[in-house]
Amino acid sequence: MATTTVAPVATSPAAPGPAGQKGRWYEGIAAHVVLIAILLVALYPIAYMFGTSFKSPQEILNNVNVFPRQFSPGNYVDGWNGIPGVTFGTFFLNSAVVAIGVVVGNALACSLAAFAFARLKFPLRGFWFAIMIGTLLLPHHVLIVPQYVLFNSLEWINTPLPLIVPKFLATEAFFVFLMVQFMRGIPRSLDEAAEIDGCGPYRRFFFVVLPLTKPALVTTAVFSFIWTWNDFFTQLVYLNDLDSYTVPIGLRLFLDSSGQAAIAPMFAMSVLSLVPVFLFFLVFQRLIVDGINTSGIKG
């Protein structure tokens, strides 16, 4: 593009450049006002959920305010015991088993495959890599019917196995790709030095590459946990027995059991269901937000 370099620098403050130089004094304030306004709208539903979890059932219907007029913490007790015979503790335990299994499976299996793709030479490597990239785009709804038939014939329905075992087989191609990218950034000279010292591929993986892959492993673990905790579709398909329910499926019970009395406990349990995700977010906040920059991970 043609730039006229003749323009004197002195006049440039009038021409607002979006980056770097400062705009007019009121622009900064205006931007903050807009940003805070959008933030209030964006966070309103979450604040509403939290506030409503302390309202009595009648108050939910006639008070749309965030803050409850009357503080009813009993919703949490009612919600926890809300389902005849099974408490929410069971659902939380089931969710935890599934989430931990998925985290371990993804971290282990995806790093194994990633090491092969990023560091080892073997016949057909390019071919398998291309297929792995292809499976990234495969919607999991396409696989759900045949996988259900398979797991049903193995009698794995109503157990956490259909949710966990596939992750130990590195079916989450996204994380394989993430770790391949990361491992490619680790200097090859380290491998070569280890090789000269007599390390075979196995020791190189465990003692050289894997420890250096820690940031990618943590990213994988954090997102595996959050996605699994929030996942609804696969858990809905594979878990039909009350004792095997996870938190998201358990929450839906409140919706099915009609009647206004269920609304207040439902909100209380909704809040509880998000607590683990919130905790992860608080601890790994920087990593999560920066991780999206670099990898395009979706929330």
Binding site: V142, P146, L169, P201, I226, L236
Partner: protein
């Protein structure tokens, strides 16, 4: 994608160090050892089940009796004898076409406000990301159902401005709209990607445009948008794929029916209802294959369109 630099050249065959050949074989074996869980998953959980689902799509199968071959009957019924199928196609297209641009517009707008180094930028970034983090959960879907219900907070808010409310989620004309708003509300992830893209644009570009007399709006259309187009493209691809696969909110908010009047019957919801609601596994498999092919075509189309509007910096200004 394979780094050829390190690969030994054929000429080096004779000059190779003694450990060359057996070392390479050892590495090839190790490669397959490391790859074995993935390979097992690829064949056992992905490829063979896909082939099986292709077979099932030509059968009648309810899990109890053996699959019964019916040829193209499922596909025929889908395309000619099932208005619900076409409803779900329509709802899904409408959902994706409205939610993806809306979400990206909000994401870009907020990113533009955020990318100057203002006080508290880090905090804003994190807080704006929270909806993306929680938005896919059942809890938020439940909140949405209450917010947009007949006695919900949205109506309370509208009443302040004297606008008459309604049961948004119970009205076929508006129910899908509430899902679109829920999707757009989760603008945090594309916003962060936009922010990273904006940071890549050299400041001199804006300074040069400003010297040429381009105002804010001109700068946006002629500098920001073209230079941001690769990132925009990336977001369009990601969000389109995600948009077509929406499930949780539609399923939970409609009480697992896709109602009212099939207005929120997204494709995946209908697939679930056929497969796991009435165990028509053959029909659901046929739907899955149509979905796979349609998504492939749509993705290819998005990629094709990219060559028309995506501007890569290294192409220069011609």
């Amino acid at each position: 994608m394979v780094d050829t630099a390190v690969r030994p050249t054929p000429a080096g065959r004779h000059a190779a160090p003694p450990r060359g050949r057996p070392g390479r074989r050892k590495e090839a074996i190790a490669g397959y050892v490391f790859l074995s869980p993935w390979l097992l998953g690829l064949f056992g959980i992905t490829l063979l089940p896909m082939l099986y689902s292709l077979y099932l799509s030509f059968t009648d199968y309810d899990l109890l009796q053996d699959p019964e071959w019916v040829g193209l009957e499922n596909y025929e019924r889908m395309f000619t004898g099932d208005p619900q199928f076409w409803n779900s196609v329509g709802a899904t297209l409408l959902f994706a076409i409205t939610s993806v641009p809306l979400k990206l517009a909000v994401a870009l707008g907020v990113a533009l406000l955020l990318y100057r180094n203002r006080r508290g930028v880090g905090l804003y970034r994190s807080l704006y990301y929270v909806p993306s983090l929680l938005g896919g959960s059942v809890a938020i879907a439940i909140v949405w159902q209450t917010l947009f219900g007949g006695q919900g907070a949205i109506n309370g808010l509208l009443a302040v401005f004297g606008i008459p409310g309604r049961a948004w989620i119970a009205d076929p004309a508006f129910a899908l709209g509430t899902l679109v708003i829920l999707a757009a509300w989760q603008f945090g992830a594309p916003m962060v990607i936009f922010l990273a893209g904006l940071k890549q644009i050299p400041t001199e570009m804006f300074e040069a445009a400003a010297l040429d007399g381009a105002g804010r709006i001109k700068q946006f259309w002629h500098v920001t948008l073209p230079l941001l187009s690769p990132v925009l493209f990336f977001n369009v691809v990601l969000e389109t794929i995600a948009g077509f696969q929406g499930f949780t909110a539609a399923f939970v908010i409609s009480g697992g029916t896709g109602g009212p009047a099939d207005s929120t019957l997204l494709y995946t919801v209908y697939l679930y209802l056929r497969g796991f609601g009435d165990f028509q596994m053959g029909y659901a498999s046929a739907m899955a294959w149509v979905f796979l092919i349609a998504l492939g075509v749509i993705t290819a189309f998005v990629f094709r369109s990219g060559s028309l509007w995506v501007h890569y910096a290294d192409e220069g200004d011609r």
